[in-house]
Amino acid sequence: MALVGLVDDMVKGDTTAHEQARDAILEELGSEALVDAAAVFGNFEMMNRVAEGTGITLPPQVLEREAEMMKTLGLEDTLKSQHL
């Protein structure tokens, strides 16, 4: 999928692949979609850094609600680290 490819290529720092991914989005989804993709990509670069820097944890009720799904995804260690 073009959107996932764009993220992967940007994070890898592969300039040629990035240009191809950008062209693929323009062709498949249009220029407004590329702008939206760039914006939301930026937003989560920001959120990830705020989360890691501040060490904020998910509220316990969220972790409890999603515990079953997280076990299914093999995230038991993460659950333990969140004291659940």
């Binding site: 993220v7 323009l26 702008v35 959120m47 060490g55």
Partner: protein, 210 residues
């Protein structure tokens, strides 16, 4: 073929090969300006120095080293790194640094995805730090003092930086109201599942559990 349809304004985003939404350009201009303004615990000059260090220039001092680390490798930032920075600078300056680095990361990524050169850092505004720091916040289960609640409140120790952070959600992602609508779609543009696909992918690659 991509046809330029925008002329130069103050922001380099206006030179992108695709038309960038006006709300994004305005947000970027305001956010860059906020980097150079005096904050709660850092002067404009100190804040621009943090931003320079984040991009890899003049990385000297604990706060600057922390800024570079958080900008370039967020997945490896741990409590010990935050405490190391805070032991020298204090919690407010550390929180302010987190905000500056995080916002700069968003702005720089927006530019690189669109194939635009990074915006030069702004000239620092004169004046000392304002001293506006929230009182009575506890460290709880995080690395820094913050009120209980989700991530938008996590920089509330320094209200100036928290406001600048929160002002970016709407243009970059969705407003609070839009987040409550599972059928939200930018038209023309991406719909919620497409936006969330990008959000999930970058968070996975950054190894961000939150």
């Amino acid at each position: 073929m991509i046809v330029p349809d925008r002329v130069t304004t103050m922001s380099g985003l206006a030179n992108a090969q695709v038309r960038v939404r006006d709300d994004l350009i305005e947000m970027a201009e305001r956010s860059f300006a906020a980097i150079a303004a005096p904050g709660g615990s850092l002067s404009g000059e100190e804040r621009v120095r943090v931003a320079e260090a984040a991009r890899g220039s003049n990385v000297n001092g604990r706060l600057q080293q922390f800024a570079r680390h958080l900008y370039s490798s967020p997945a490896t930032v741990a409590l010990e790194h935050v405490r190391y920075a805070a032991s020298d600078a204090g919690d407010p300056q550390t929180v302010e640094t987190i905000g500056i680095v995080a916002r700069l990361s968003a702005l720089d990524r927006l530019h690189t995805v669109l194939g635009v050169d990074l915006e030069p850092l702004p000239t620092p505004q004169p004046g000392l730090a304002t001293g506006e720091i929230a009182r009575g916040l506890k460290r709880r289960r995080g690395h820094v003092p913050m009120p209980p609640g989700p991530i938008p409140v996590s920089l509330d120790l320094v209200p100036f930086e928290a406001e600048a952070f929160q002002a970016m959600f709407g243009p970059l992602y969705m407003t609070e109201e839009q987040m409550g609508d599972p059928l939200f779609a930018r038209d023309p543009g991406l719909n919620t599942p497409q936006l969330e696909t990008i959000a999930a992918r970058i968070s996975m690659l950054n190894e961000c559990f939150y």
